[in-house]
Amino acid sequence: MTDPNTRTEWPLWEVFVRSRAGLDHKHCGSLHAADAAMAIQLARDVYTRRLEGSSVWVVPSAAITASDPGDKGMFFDPAEDKVYRHPTFYKLPPEVDHM
């Protein structure tokens, strides 16, 4: 099934859109495309139709290594009761409050 002539599904790409200069590219979805150039073009049509974008990145979904959902407990739960990791215990001067 890896022969491109018999494969019926194009590879999947993750799409990241930057809404304005200075902001981060944000993940906004995925799409199928034959290659990177086509993925950029289709991303433009699928994800920036309503003036959402000023820049687009595409990344092959296969290139993303994700954490294992089975490790969720081990990975993330221990952070639950460690409120001291949030820098919310400092009294800021009024001029720089609401940072």
């Binding site: 002539n5 194009w10 799409l31 199928h32 495309a33 034959a34 150039a37 086509m38 073009q41 289709l42 433009r44 049509d45 699928v46 139709r49």
Partner: protein
């Protein structure tokens, strides 16, 4: 049934209608892909472009209505004319065909419109110049999108190459009409309204020719056939597309969403 509107076909009006109807009819043809695109993403791309073209048609027909002098609006011009009063080149009224046919025609028309918009940005008609300034960006994207597909399909599999060759053989005979000189174009050039379509022929040949060459496609030799849509004499396909477009406005005059 609502009666057709009758127009004073001045050269200026005909020039605007040629542009507006090219956008209107090709927009309608691309809209036919809605729900039928080869993949979901391409379905959205084609209908985006259809809506770009309809938007351009709205602006152009609104302008045409203003210059005609009897305050016909865009809807009346789009939906209440007789077939002979539509002035699009025949190329855009041909049925949508397969995907190769669609992207090849898009390449031809988007290249033409892009080159015309570039020159129309200097039109003596400030309204038309403003429409052109906005539309040229859309046309540039349409051209790139189509060129990308023509390269992929022309230089793709045996099947895609065969379909591209068939499409090119059908479409190429409608090209000469695009650049045929006539009184309408001469009047537009003389008043500064816009370029003769023939003025962009050399650039069109260079740009379309470059894509076809890279895609490994060779245009067929031209015979003596000349299509005549720009003069209002259309193929049998035009009646069907107009029937579909006009049905609602004719049956429910002034109907809006």
């Amino acid at each position: 049934m609502t009666a057709s509107i009758q127009l004073h076909q001045t050269p200026q009006l005909q020039y605007l209608l040629r542009l507006g109807d090219t956008c209107l009819i090709l927009g309608q043809r691309l809209g036919e892909w809605c729900g039928h695109g080869p993949i979901l993403e391409e379905d959205i791309a084609l209908t985006n472009m259809a809506l770009d073209l309809i938007g351009q048609a709205r602006a152009l027909l609104t302008r045409a209505g203003q210059t005609e002098g009897r305050a016909f609006d865009e809807d009346q011009l789009a939906f209440l004319r007789d077939e002979r009063d539509y002035r699009n080149p025949t190329l855009v009224e041909l049925p949508r065909g397969d995907f190769a046919f669609t992207v090849l025609r898009n390449l031809m028309v988007a290249t033409l419109l892009k080159l015309l918009w570039q020159k129309l940005a200097d039109s003596s008609d400030a309204e038309l110049a403003a429409i052109a300034g906005k539309a040229v960006k859309e046309a540039r994207y349409h051209q790139q999108h189509a060129a990308d597909w023509v390269l992929r399909l022309g230089d793709g599999t045996d099947e895609s190459t065969r379909r591209c060759r068939t499409a090119l053989a059908t479409l190429w005979r409608y090209v000469p009409e695009l650049f045929e000189a006539d009184a309408v174009d001469e009047a537009a050039a003389a008043t500064g309204l816009g370029p003769r379509w023939a003025d962009v022929q050399a650039d069109w040949n260079a740009e379309v020719g470059a894509v076809l060459a890279e895609a490994g496609l060779t245009p067929p030799a031209l015979g003596s056939y000349r299509s005549t849509g720009k003069r209002g004499v259309h193929t049998e396909h035009m009646g069907y597309i107009l029937a579909e477009m006009q049905h609602l406005q004719r049956s429910y005059p002034g109907g809006v969403w």
